[in-house]
Amino acid sequence: MHDKTISQLSSSLQSGDFSSVELTTHLLDRVERLGPHLNAFVTVTSELALEQARAADQRRAAGDAGPLNGIPIVHKDLFCTDGVLTTCGSRILDNFVSPYDATVVGKLKEAGTVMLGKTNMDEFAMGSSNENSSFGPVKNPWDDTRVPGGSSGGSAAAVAARLLPGATGTDTGGSIRQPAALTGITGLKPTYGRVSRYGMVAFASSLDQAGTLTRCAEDAAMMLGTMAGFDPRDSTSAEKDVPDYRATLDDSLDGLRIGVPAEFFDDGLMPANKTAVEEAIRELEKLGAKISEIHLPNLGLSVPTYYVVAPAECSSNLSRFDGVRFGHRAEEYDDLTDMYKKTRGQGFGAEVKRRIMTGTYVLSAGY
């Protein structure tokens, strides 16, 4: 069962080969056996999952089952989940039980998915190796001496290890795409504004975007179709209709022009990665796309720009973690300012502190 994709599982559930409860039980067993070694999970929600699976089976029996009904998934531990621990990989949130669902979580729940748990991640999504989690590093299931990438490393490892067919992730500066590449699965960062950010713990709001980690494009299309769409609770949510992504998967690419930025193929590119990208380009060409070399002369400025924008937004967004309304509070302190400082000093890891201070410098320089 665990080797099937979401679309295959969807057909099997519909034709009655097995129930969602049977599928969920099988995957929970794998999560319990293999999850701890990979350290892919922060929380496993076994009881809740079985309850949701039973409800999904009942809906199917009543003839009310959409394509994702009864499909087990996991959420990166950055999405707020009503009544379930939401840590963002940080000590400062290690006791935070979210009082509401993120829009993405709510939409996937409404579509009948079964949540098996919350996945490990770099603290506040700051990292590219998943070594920056206060719950310890995640291992790459293909070789446990290697990192799975980050920050959505737990989601990527869980999907790659066939613990689950699909997971949510978030991507600010590569946090879905890079772990997907490092674990050999399909990762998609949608266009900014396509998926609601409501209920995602914010890192850099102008760059954060929720997406999917799955084993193939069809599964990404199924999950994204459910997750995407306008949300009045996200001020930068795009007011655009969501197409049926799955319907066009087999269309020819005739007439599609794809630009390949020459600057990406510089000396810093590993030969193996270069070969893989060139193979993909040839594949797209075979499918009918026209490839043109293009130039992005300012590409070299993008990383230094990111080093200003992301930490500045991080510094502002993470000011909410003050030990007052939620999260960790220091045991001992002298006064209010000292309480803030000790709470944040104890609650944040080194990488988060570095980025907060970079952002604070950027925002305060000149004052």
Binding site: P99, Y192, P232, E239, P304, S315, Y340, R354
Partner: protein
């Protein structure tokens, strides 16, 4: 550029972050390197570049000034470390 320990302590204070005395130098070195790295942005010619607020060319949405949220303070306050009579408690600020 190289940030002094004093400058670093001031940044940490503005960020309300306690950092250990022995970590200050490491944080200062790291931040100094980042500042040097982003310095190249000042060489970029942005004369004809319009500021961009959103990649999709949208305008900021407005909504009617109506109450849309209901009261969930009891549920929310379950996450607080110190609450009394529905109020969040913090150390005394005024004598």
């Amino acid at each position: 550029m190289s940030l002094s320990r004093n400058e670093m302590n001031n940044i940490a204070h503005l960020a309300r972050l306690e950092i250990a005395e022995e970590e200050v130098t490491a944080f200062a070195d790291n931040l100094s390197r980042i500042i040097d790295f982003v310095e190249q942005l000042s060489q970029a010619n942005t004369d004809d570049v319009l500021p961009m607020a959103h990649p999709l060319d949208m305008v900021q949405r407005l909504r009617a000034d109506e109450v849309t949220e209901t009261d969930h303070h009891q549920k929310f306050q379950q996450n607080a470390s110190s609450v009394e009579e529905d109020l969040y408690l913090v150390p005394k600020v005024l004598e």
